[in-house]
Symmetry: C2
Subunit: 234 residues, 2 copies
């Protein structure tokens, strides 16, 4: 064993609260925990085979990220987004996605640009395969590269969070007829502007992308006549 250093990764240790948090978020985003549903700490703890403490901490974190609503001394409920809230989130996302694209156009490195193009190609391929889940994943990967290219770490985490918020309604939006190919075109426009280092155009392309994503989501929601909202305004 000449050079063989043994490196066993203690870094991938995750506190239980993290694991619980991720599991619960996944359950909410995927819809297994429905909006309005009550979250009882002991019940969840028993189900997951842990104590209340990590569950509590996970719930608190979910609250701060907008997935859960807590009422004083009453308990926690899965948050549902009202149409008004969805519009609010999109208003913010549009602005920030647009900012990210602008910054990326200014700051992207050669390596990142190649990554971005690879992601775009991958997205294209997944769209051809018509597997919605794969498309969603590829889309996320694409935007992640785009975000990091902005060089603003805080922006990356805010955008990731906002995306998670509406992820619940995401596949719905993509199932809107023709949405996927339109989205692909929008992605291409963004990449083009970034490649040519044109911040203004990149920002505009990102804005259009968001607007059209919002529009198709709203459209689908109308059709399904969803009352995502439960006893809340608008």
């Amino acid at each position: 064993m000449t050079d063989g250093r043994i490196i066993l990764n203690m870094d991938n240790y995750k506190p239980l609260r993290e694991i619980v948090f991720e599991a619960m978020r996944e359950a909410i985003v995927s819809g297994r925990l429905a909006p309005g549903e009550r979250l009882v700490e002991i019940k969840l703890a028993d189900e997951m085979g842990v104590s209340r403490t990590p569950v509590r901490e996970a719930i608190r974190k979910l609250e701060l990220e907008g997935f859960v609503i807590m009422m004083q001394r009453k308990g926690a409920y899965v948050a549902g987004l009202s149409p008004k809230e969805i519009r609010d989130v999109f208003e913010i996302r549009s602005t920030l996605e647009s900012l990210a694209a602008r910054l990326a156009a200014e700051r992207i490195t050669q390596v990142q640009l190649e990554q971005l193009k690879r992601q775009l190609a991958d997205l294209e391929e997944k769209i051809r395969s018509h597997e919605i889940e794969a498309v969603v994943k590829a889309d996320i990967a694409f935007h992640d590269v785009l975000f990091s290219a902005s060089g603003n770490a805080r922006l990356v985490s805010m955008l990731s969070n906002l995306r998670e918020q509406i992820h619940r309604y995401r596949s719905m939006s993509l199932s809107y007829p023709g949405r996927m190919s339109v989205a692909l075109g929008e992605h291409r426009a963004i990449v083009k502007a970034i490649t040519e280092h044109k911040p203004q155009e990149a920002a505009e392309a990102a804005l259009e992308h968001m607007d059209s994503a919002e529009a198709s989501l709203i459209e689908v929601m109308k059709k399904v006549h969803m009352s995502i909202n439960d006893e809340r305004e608008e």
Copy 2:
């Protein structure tokens, strides 16, 4: 007691974790807890006369809001913002403040507009008095009205949070010679654009306001030759 419904406010009950959270944030923002300082749960709990639980929950919340950095199994530390991180925050704030101003110009109600003008007058008065703390407060009140006028609740909370993040360095920036009167002018420009319902101008005025706030902060920091940063990059 004909119509007199008795409404006794149970709403002002606050869980301990909230109280602890607010106390700790105040301590960090005001500098009593300095960047890099270690936060030991039992120590804080004893000092405040509570148990570890609410302290832990408060620390978690502070972490999510960026005031505290946690290291696995090592503990929590007061976060310091590096110059790079300050720039990152300003990049985001500029964009969102600008969005808020734009939306306010579109949506502000008559009542809100009057409020806004009152806050502006108040700010003017406080600036004449030269009490920095009062000016900071008035400035916050002004922007709060502006934010709500955007009609986007999520935007309000995101902006409040971002403001808190740099509040630590705020009075420093205002102490920069001439900064206060310049800021007053910028505020007037924003109010003017909103009054005339000119979204584009409001957005631009807000952007300028942020840019100049950032510039004067950076300037002051250079002079004080601060190493706000502790063992972090840039």
